[in-house]
């Protein structure tokens, strides 16, 4: 056989063995070691930061949920609502609208969302903050801005038979500022707020 063919075959054989060995190191040992450390030291985080209500898992603190009336896409007045989602908060279809900043379809979406949020919460359109009318990147954004939580207080209080002051207190308790003063935007975790709300409405 031609020597260059033999050489090429030998080179490819060495390359394949190298790949297999490195697969063992970086594709098997590495993820297993990291999983071991993670499961031992940060069990809760490594498994999705699940949160409970009444002793039952009701979701992940990090994954946003839909707060619509069951079986519909109508927002339920008794819950705080999250940001618009491109997938109805389905974690298996993450992603966003991908529409450009001047796109006519996006203009229509934003206008419709603004009108809907304003009417739903009985506030003027000028009070509706930007996160309430724009789709998140992940479609499962767990947070809203404190402003968006504020404009929902009155509606949520009424629907749950609570005083506005009580609900306002809950929002305040669940508002997170910037970590170290410059990391994260100020935000409210919708699931945790709604769990606290359910607790308050029960009493």
């Amino acid at each position: 056989m031609n020597t260059s063919v033999v050489n090429t075959a030998r080179m490819l054989w060495a390359a394949l063995r190298m790949l297999l060995v490195l697969t063992l190191v970086t594709g098997v040992i590495y993820p297993l070691v990291v999983t071991g450390i993670g499961q031992a030291a940060f069990h809760d985080q490594a498994n999705g930061s699940m949160v409970k209500a009444d002793g039952k898992e009701v979701g992940s603190r990090l994954i946003g949920q839909s707060w619509s009336i069951k079986g519909t896409d109508k927002p339920d007045p008794k819950w705080f609502q999250g940001r618009p989602s491109n997938s109805g908060y389905d974690p298996l279809a993450t992603g966003s609208s991908q529409l450009g900043a001047s796109d006519p379809t996006l203009v229509k979406h934003v206008q419709a969302a603004k009108k809907q949020v304003a009417e739903f919460n009985r506030v003027s359109e000028s009070e509706v903050p930007v996160d309430a009318v724009t789709g998140s990147a992940s479609a499962i954004d767990p947070d809203i801005s404190p402003q968006y939580a504020d404009i929902q207080v009155k509606r949520v209080a009424e629907a749950n038979g609570l005083t506005a002051a009580r609900v306002e207190r809950l929002v305040k308790d669940h508002t997170q500022g910037r970590t170290l003063g410059f990391l994260d935007q100020p935000r409210v975790n919708v699931l945790e707020l709604n769990i606290a709300l359910k607790e308050a409405a029960k009493n």
Binding site: V34, M50, V58, S102, V133, L183
Partner: protein
């Protein structure tokens, strides 16, 4: 505190951390690639492969190693995706189709990580950890190896030897990428990134609905995805997914990780050529371009001139609440400028002109600071072009680091810089001429064109991010973009290694009073200017048709 002040502190913290780390890391990497000792695990690897780690290679041999290893990687990854349903931990996913498996295989082997699939509904545990994540490591190590070979070309004289590819590959993986990734992965888990091999976990929400929570070895893959400037997300939403990037701390950490090796390698280069100031001139050029782009995109995003953004009151479409406009812009610039391509917000929904800056960042050839390894060798090629231009102005034979830049060297450098523009412009033109281009667009008008231009720019420059409205999963795009990624990665490497070989053979010429001082700020300015002029002239017409037209209309 206001958003703007917080963003300034964020950028300052990032730059501070990079400044602090580049020196020990750069020196460490120089020591790794200069050492004559082998670790025990490395000796075991060489023995089981049957490679002699101390045998020197000339450039053709080094190149054959790169190509053979990458070819085997493509085939292995292709087969793994095609049979994933027959392996354990398949999560019930079907085999990936042939064209998409080809596209994904070359995408990960070429350090591009363009993804026409959605991780959460397509790839099994094994395909992710033993296939894709492995290439995240080794494709990055290949990039650094080629850069180190070029640096040796400058550092060595009267020899054709460039080192040993297998040794460089193994050392980059074992001594640099693995330790960094382990530390990063543990930090990511501590902040909320998941790391498990479980099954889909369905819970009942307070409203009585069901929600399926994804499992996965996410943190371990996220770490190397950033450290190795790969960018392929575990999930479709990439680093916007809260399980990949749960908050402000991880966001800063991930930006730091994707910049840390590219910004430290110039120190390694300086150390290896015996003058760290040469490295600082290079890193200054990288830093200036990166910083200007950060300022530009952040400013445009806050100004939000787009019609829809004006009505909404901000540029938050496709961005997460926990990040906001500023940190999203910082991530977007850093990911497009490093050939990473992971995203924490969707570039398709950025303001028209911001999208243009992100595109330009890739079109510059991924050199500010560029991907791991590829950024350094791309920038050194531009430095050769810059000394050549300076030489033309004064009528002297150009030289760089004591090596003559003769006809052969400048031809190789010129070939290098022609490859990606040719791939981008021809690819875009063909796609636009055929019905495929139009059918893939989510957006209309100039922005629709930008989606196609972005796709070919991203693939050819091995970035991997997208204007993700672009419907890339068709046989036409899987194939043509796959070819762009392959040629955009490996053709330049051929020229870089040939150049390295030719430089290593030269004898050094002593510096004289007439030598251009390439460690001075003047040279950094010349370098930045040369990059802007060459890229600007090449891509200006295409940019004018897409993002400029859109941005000026708003």
């Amino acid at each position: 505190m206001s958003s703007v002040l917080a963003d300034v502190l964020l950028v300052a913290a990032l730059i501070g951390a990079l400044a602090l780390v580049h020196r020990p890391l750069g020196d460490y990497m120089a020591a790794v690639y200069s050492s004559t000792k082998h670790l025990r695990v490395e000796k075991w690897i060489y023995r089981s492969v049957g490679a002699n780690p101390d045998a020197e290679m000339r450039w053709p041999a080094y190149l054959r190693g790169v190509l053979a290893f990458s070819a085997v990687g493509v085939i292995f990854l292709y087969v793994l995706q095609r049979v994933q349903d027959k392996l354990p931990l398949s999560l019930g996913f079907k085999p990936i189709t042939p064209d998409q498996a080809f596209n994904t295989a070359v995408s990960f082997v070429s350090n591009t990580n363009w993804q026409s699939y959605s991780g959460e509904t397509a790839m099994s545990h094994i395909a992710q950890t033993a296939g894709l994540a492995v290439q995240n490591f080794v494709s990055a190590a290949v990039g650094i190896a080629v850069a180190v070979a070029l640096v040796r070309g400058f550092a060595r004289s009267r020899t054709g030897d460039l080192g040993n590819f297998w040794t460089d590959l193994v050392r980059g993986t074992v001594r640099i990428l693995l330790p960094l990734s382990v530390i990063a992965a543990v930090l990511l888990i501590s902040a909320g990134a998941i790391q498990n091999f479980g099954d889909l976990h369905t819970i009942t929400t307070l409203t009585g609905d069901k929600q399926a929570i994804s499992p996965g070895a996410v943190a371990s893959q996220e770490a190397i995805k950033d450290v190795g400037t790969n960018g392929g997300g575990f999930f479709n939403a990439n680093s916007a997914h809260p399980f990949e990037n749960p908050g402000g701390f991880t966001n800063l950490l991930e930006i730091f990780l994707l910049l840390v090796i590219p910004f430290s390698l110039p120190r390694t280069f300086g150390k290896m050529v015996g003058n760290v100031r040469q490295g600082y001139a290079i890193v200054a050029a990288m830093g200036i371009i990166w910083f200007l782009a950060v300022v530009a995109v952040t400013w445009i995003e806050y100004a939000h001139p787009g019609t829809a953004s004006q009505i909404a009151g901000g540029s938050m479409e496709g961005k997460e609440q926990r990040f906001g406009e500023g940190p999203s812009s910082l991530f977007a610039v850093s990911t497009t400028m490093t050939s990473t391509g992971s995203v924490n917000s969707f570039h398709d929904s950025y303001q028209g002109l911001s999208g243009g800056v992100l595109l330009l960042g890739m079109m510059l050839g991924e050199i500010a600071p560029g991907g791991v390894g590829s950024g350094l060798y791309g920038m050194l090629i531009m430095a050769i072009i810059a000394v050549f231009l300076a030489g033309l102005m004064v009528g002297r034979t150009p030289e760089y680091l004591g090596k003559k830049i003769g006809t052969r060297e400048i031809k190789l450098a010129a070939c290098y810089i022609l490859i990606t523009p040719a791939l981008v412009l021809i690819g875009t033109a063909v796609a636009m001429a055929l019905p495929d281009g139009k059918e893939a667009m989510t957006n209309i008008d100039a922005h629709g064109f930008s989606e196609v231009l972005y796709a070919y720019t991203s693939a050819s420059n091995n970035n991997g991010s997208a204007f993700a409205g672009f419907g890339a999963n068709t046989p036409f795009f899987n194939t043509t973009l796959g070819l762009c990624m392959t040629l955009g990665r490996f053709l330049p490497m051929v020229f870089v290694l040939a150049l390295a070989g030719s430089l290593a053979e030269q004898k050094p010429i002593p510096a004289t009073a007439g030598t251009l001082r390439t460690e001075k700020p003047l040279f950094t300015g010349l370098l930045v200017g040369a990059i802007m002029i060459i890229t600007g002239l090449t891509f200006f017409p295409a940019l004018a048709l897409g993002p400029l037209a859109e941005g000026l209309a708003a």
